[in-house]
């Protein structure tokens, strides 16, 4: 099959368009298809230029649907004291300015994060150095759960070991 447009080269791009129920079919060669803007000639060029939607646009879209936060007065501008980023700036770019923004804008960010992730409670990795106490606290919580289970199952020897471990950790890191 030859290209519908140039009638010279073989048609390798078969394009079907349906507008208001009217079906149009086109059989084009790669070159004519590229001229019509139906395909990109080079993959990498498309990597750089082809941005149908961005995370920022999606975030902005989500934020527009979020209910107004109760304690935010109309016109009041939330702002991070550390870096100066305002909520409006975040809305436009989808990027936060610094780690303090999470505290400063939390009333607005929390519902957004809940919507994106379905949760606002981190359950993943805890950094060793910065998270020493947090790590211990989580470990204590986990041990307490195990202890409860051991007592229920009347595994008293195991329970005693767990209890000692908990005491040891609590002594080391405070309660």
């Amino acid at each position: 099959m030859l290209c519908d447009k140039c009638k010279e080269r073989p048609a390798t791009v078969h394009y079907t368009q349906i507008i208001n129920g009217v079906k149009t079919e086109m059989n084009l060669c790669e070159q004519c298809a590229a001229e019509e803007g139906l395909i990109n000639n080079e993959t990498f060029a498309s990597v750089a230029n082809f941005t149908p939607f961005s995370v920022q646009n999606l975030l902005a879209g989500l934020m527009n649907f979020l209910p107004e936060v109760g304690n935010t007065f109309v016109g009041q501008q939330l702002k991070c004291d550390n870096c100066g980023l305002t909520y409006d700036m975040f809305r436009q770019t989808g990027r936060l300015g610094c780690s303090h923004c999470y505290d400063a804008l939390q009333d607005e960010l929390n519902p957004l994060m809940r919507r994106i992730h379905g949760s606002i409670e981190h359950r993943g990795k805890i950094p060793r150095k910065t998270g020493g106490i947090i790590r211990a606290r989580r470990e204590i919580d986990e041990l307490k759960e195990k202890l409860e289970k051991a007592v229920k199952e009347e595994a008293y020897e195991e329970a005693a070991v767990l209890r000692d471990k908990i005491r040891e950790l609590e002594k080391e890191f405070g309660k």
Binding site: F44, C83, G97, H122, G124, R128
Partner: protein
Amino acid sequence: MFEHDNDVVLSSRVRLARNIKDIPFPSIMKDSDAENVIDIVKKAVYSNEILSAQFIEYDMKNINPIERQSLVERHLISPDLAQNTKNGYALIKKDNTVSILINEEDHLRIQTIMKGLNIKEAWNVADKIDDLLEENINYAYNEKIGYLTSCPTNVGTGIRASVMVHLPALSITGQIGNILNSVVKIGIAVRGMYGEGTQSLGDIYQLSNQVTLGQREIEIIENLEGVVKQIINNERKARNDLFTIRRVQMEDRVGRAYGLISNARVLSTQEYMKLMSDVRLGAVLKIIDIDIKEIDELTTNIQPGNLQKILGKQIDPYERDIKRAEYVVQKIKG
């Protein structure tokens, strides 16, 4: 059987987004902050015995556009980092399995990449490097919401695990749309070969986790792996069905693609990708005798940046299509 399911899975990647405490995020930071970040990360790498001997440095402002593009095409850096010719910096492990990207959307991103289905191993390595770096870097971390990132879509674990899959049979049999629509519903994002905003070419798709907060890393990894394994099974079944029920048509399709790819005089990336998909499928189904590892290497090498790097010069797109055809014919015919 195939090594790490590489009949369907091309590669597995894990990246961790991290920021340094008390330095503004890249979107608003000053050049002096950016330089500071590069120094801190480099010091953390070089002061560690295990890490120090393994990395090569790439300063985006000092390397030429072809080299930058080639790094993107080999998935060693992101398109965003390649564009940051002011402050972008990368440390890439000599065997190309680990990249530490500096001053991208976050201060640092640790990325590990492995061939085939290997997400757990990729996570284990990333996790270890993260621990080693953390000995010398104070991360921005919050007890409640975890690792703090420039964009709230990455907060928490900062993890993005992704798997690149080749799904020609699901595409031929028309099941692809349904499958991709359903994985999206359970929190898996589907993208083209080069990430966000790119088209899928050659029936290659990138699947990755959406959620980064509220789940443990291993849960996120296992969830993605579980979904990918089901997709692998579906793809294999479709391949098998096609081969048994439509054998002649399949042999015809693969034979035609092979004929074109091995005799072409002018070959664009786009056309190569389309033909490659059938040729790769034909290789897996043993219709033609080519090693899929060689095809995958070829697919990386014929991308515009890599091709120009191999040829050692910058050439215009049309000339490139001719050189690409020459290169492919030579590699395929041996």
